[in-house]
Amino acid sequence: MAETEKKEHGAGLYVGIWVALVALTTLTYGLGQVELGAWQLPIGLLIAAVKATLVVLFFMHLTEHAPSNRLVFATSIVFVGLLIALTLGDFGFRFKGMRPPGMTPLDLSPGAPAMHYTNPSDVGHGIQRR
């Protein structure tokens, strides 16, 4: 079974990876200071994913480990991905009901006008039919 440990990396590789990680961090910080609009988060996460992959593959020795270990880790990532995707499938496509009164901190804070719910037509204002 010794072949699972056969290809062992040298210390030089680790320092190289570290240099790459530092460079990527600097890059992502720099990009974070530029106005990228909607792309801000996706780009940040993409760079983070590259960095994380480097750490997992080399620092955590996943390249040297048995295939089952890779499978385990990949599975956990897939499951988190699906958890997020299906949750967003709800949040992204919901009926756009507005928030009812009395449910925001604005209503709960002392000194706010008394809560009244007398004219439903006000409340209904802004609800769109899909």
């Binding site: 680790y14 994380a52 020795h61 949040f91």
Partner: protein
């Protein structure tokens, strides 16, 4: 081969090592799912309050967050070098690298708590404690709550990881490990790296979503 290091129900040292590694990966998978739930929460609320999230991100101390990222990446390098040394039977080097990594871990926590302190000064606290504005927007509160929950849970993991490295470093200094048997160094290191990986994702989610 030292007899006590091989548990009696394993056939070979190699089988035991493989079991340890796989066990660690499965454990790390549970950690990924633990944080995964919070990431899902972040994603959901980001959908619900897109503008408020950008507003909330102005509370972030980007310089501290960035510094912490460099600190953690460097500490990970030390940990991997420690593992590398022990594979070549260099116990003292290993212990030294682990101590350096722990030191950086403390630096990370120190910076993190200084950042929390600054937030507290401003009133940028989570949940009901938020009092920057008298009538805050709900999304901003949720953003701050998520920030505290995620970085707080990460800080707890960081503390555990430092303790783990401490025990491992102590044993390494006592010549407990060698080329044949160094599972605690390797597994403890993996845990450290995972905590690092989680921070790598937290960094853009909180610090980089809006240019200062």
């Amino acid at each position: 081969m030292p007899e006590a290091r091989l548990a009696e129900h394993f056939a070979t040292m190699d089988a035991q090592r493989r079991a340890g590694q796989l066990g660690m990966w499965v454990f790390l998978a549970t950690e990924v799912l633990l944080f995964g739930g919070l990431f899902a929460g972040y994603a959901a609320f980001r959908f619900a309050y897109p503008a408020d999230f950008l507003e909330g991100a102005h509370h972030m101390k980007v310089m501290i967050g960035t510094a912490n990222t460099y600190v953690l990446i460097t500490s990970s390098l030390f940990v991997v070098l420690a593992t590398h040394s022990i594979k070549h039977d260099r116990s003292w080097t290993c212990a030294g690298f682990l101590l350096l990594a722990m030191l950086l871990g403390f630096v990370f926590l120190g910076l993190k708590f200084y950042e929390y302190y600054e937030h507290a000064q401003e009133g940028a606290l989570p949940g009901v404690w938020y009092h920057v504005e008298t009538v805050p927007r709900p999304g901003v509160i949720v953003f701050m709550t998520l920030y505290y929950l995620m970085t707080g849970l990460h800080a707890i993991h960081m503390t555990v990881a430092i303790s783990v490295l401490g025990v491992v470093a102590y044993r390494a200094a006592g010549n407990a490990f060698d080329r044949e048997y160094h599972a605690p160094v390797e597994l403890g290191g993996m845990y450290w790296h995972l905590v690092d990986v989680i921070w790598i994702f937290l960094y853009p989610l909180f610090y980089l979503i809006v240019p200062k």
